[in-house]
Assembly symmetry: C2
Homo-oligomer: 434 residues x 2
Amino acid sequence: MRMVDIIHNKRSGQALTDDEIKFFIEGYTKGDIPDYQAAAFMMAIYFQGMNSQETAVLTKAMADSGETIDLSGIKGHKVDKHSTGGVGDKVTFIVGPLVASAGVPVAKMSGRGLGHTGGTIDKLEAIDGLEIEMSKERFVEIVNTHKLAVAGQTGNLAPADKKLYALRDVTATVEAVPLIAGSIMSKKLASGADSIVLDVKTGSGAFMKTMEDSEALAKEMVAIGNNLGRKTIAIISDMNQPLGFEVGNANEIKEAVDILKGAKVDDLRTLSLEIASHMTVLAGAFSHYDEARTALEANLENGRAFEAFRRFIIAQGGDAGMIDDTSKLPQAKFHLDIKAEEEGFVAEIDAESIGTAAMYLGAGRATKEDAINHAVGITLKKKIGDPVQKGDVLVTLHADTESPENAVQKVRQAYRFSPEPINRPQLIHKVIGD
Amino acid sequence: MRMVDIIHNKRSGQALTDDEIKFFIEGYTKGDIPDYQAAAFMMAIYFQGMNSQETAVLTKAMADSGETIDLSGIKGHKVDKHSTGGVGDKVTFIVGPLVASAGVPVAKMSGRGLGHTGGTIDKLEAIDGLEIEMSKERFVEIVNTHKLAVAGQTGNLAPADKKLYALRDVTATVEAVPLIAGSIMSKKLASGADSIVLDVKTGSGAFMKTMEDSEALAKEMVAIGNNLGRKTIAIISDMNQPLGFEVGNANEIKEAVDILKGAKVDDLRTLSLEIASHMTVLAGAFSHYDEARTALEANLENGRAFEAFRRFIIAQGGDAGMIDDTSKLPQAKFHLDIKAEEEGFVAEIDAESIGTAAMYLGAGRATKEDAINHAVGITLKKKIGDPVQKGDVLVTLHADTESPENAVQKVRQAYRFSPEPINRPQLIHKVIGD
């Protein structure tokens, strides 16, 4: 088998055989196939696509290219969630305890990563003492006892995906649906969950800007999951503005805790309940969505969800006092209100710009070496559809410097107003694979 | 400017700016742009194409990436020819003297190369004493005195093309018309001719198998040439069987010399006259094609064309006795007739298989280090359309071993017969850019 022939076959629009795909992934991981052949191959896939069989085989081969995590020590049906990423997305901190509160085990592996704010792990580290590095035995034990644990991703998960993604990033081949889907799903597969709920974001602040693209990605991922024996559902949710009101690290934990304590923050609570309901149905804890939804809403009201979060924090060494009283979470030195200079209705809040402003404040990392400042962040006071009077506070910046000019400017760029009333965007656009 | 953005622009179907194309060629030649970005870029061009402006700029940038040959010391309008390659193509040995016989200077640079038989230079070296390495001054002097000289390609012509071609070969991106056209034309431009006549082969034995592809390539090359100020014409000629009757080295020289002495070998003579007529018209020696054709046919009859060849051979130190009496050219030890085992009409002669048989005999090189055996080769006795009786000689092999079994087998595979009469293939399909 020669790589040049495999590239040629894909370039000509042929479906590749399982062996051809495995030959590529194995050879590329080992370094036998050079980057230049992989790059031409990725571009050929960009133009010719892959059918569901090819995509499933590619995903499996990438998942098998390194370590795979064995969660068989955990009792019960393990269900995982994944979001394609957005600004203000702290859904994991609500969904994890919610699902655990229904008795379904959640064994969450998360990363740090670069971006506007920290990753799941970084945000959790706003809580003093919380330890995310632990042995596999300890991780399994916490999940078995408390139904929820979060650990940092260790080991060499899907190295083929890591290597390919880095290559795609510099060869303009990121935006190919089978490759994006395979990349996400290979890591989920290697992480060992039995079922997966995907939150595919759509809109100006999402990786996929249009419903069409978002739906294509969602369908592809659901097909891969089901093809490889994992029950998979994808929710397409709106990312035309940040999710919830808080963007940062400690303040995002606070917002999640508020909801776990029963607060009714509109979009964030709704999306969390939607995802958690599907997860618990997939796990078999409830027989259908409505039953799950009713039970989980009750668990937000009756304190069980918060209690599940609290037990997890304590089990991993965290200071529960900081979530009992979220004012004890890290606080920034300065709080700067940005006020409306015109009146009207909020028409747009560019999530990308809000995220960048948060990064300017120190909430995220531009390079791997950067430290996260857990205290800083942004609180939105007005969201799309809200009426605004001149002088109303749009946003409060939590900063450790007195006048964070570049962040202020970014926030101002993010808001657009309309003289006419504006509808709030629909939050849940579609559920695929239900 | 970032290469990833240039790849992205092409991938999205945009026309690239002149600066983007130059940035790529300069960066890639210097090694600043890595092979993997170039490979993804080539594949994007394969799918999205390039317009005539882009292709011209690419070609010019490749021509400018290394040395360019200054032929300004040669008096008169310099006209070059190029063939996309086929089996039995010894047209250069006829066209060169023909054009020279009309007083038009032909300064031919040729290569050796790998393949079924030797390149132009290798074939000429069948003539004892002929020297193809010489100073530029001597080359110019021979052309000025005798109107014809042939020199080995020296120096670093179009290194960007050399590097890109090697990459395309292993990334399944050879077959992109703008890239093929740019590759050929960049070397022609760097070689300094004022006008160019291209012989684009079409058919089973050609790089381009279909008329559609051949015409697309011809049009692209003509557009590039004219775009960059070189008068360019392309002839699309048939390569559904070897050209002429001889395939090898010394025997190809012999066939060419026979034609220069007035022999009427059908397809070879006709194509040579066609090419030479266009060349002399482009050079201004004749006012139109018919005038050129009549004059050049006369020069084959009256000995002027042969005399031009003879003067060139002597000027470059060759033994003219070997062309005066071609039986003095290197001769193989054995001559083996391959006879028809059935009767009918010759329907196909796979040029590729005939070429491979010639290489098996030792007429070509499989690797750069191989030596050429000038004496061996193949003489076709039957061509497409010829009636054949059982026992008729189809082919004579000239070999230095007594039973060259693999060559015999390849020749047998090449021939297909039909019980019904078969038309001879049309030789000249089209002239582009006239």
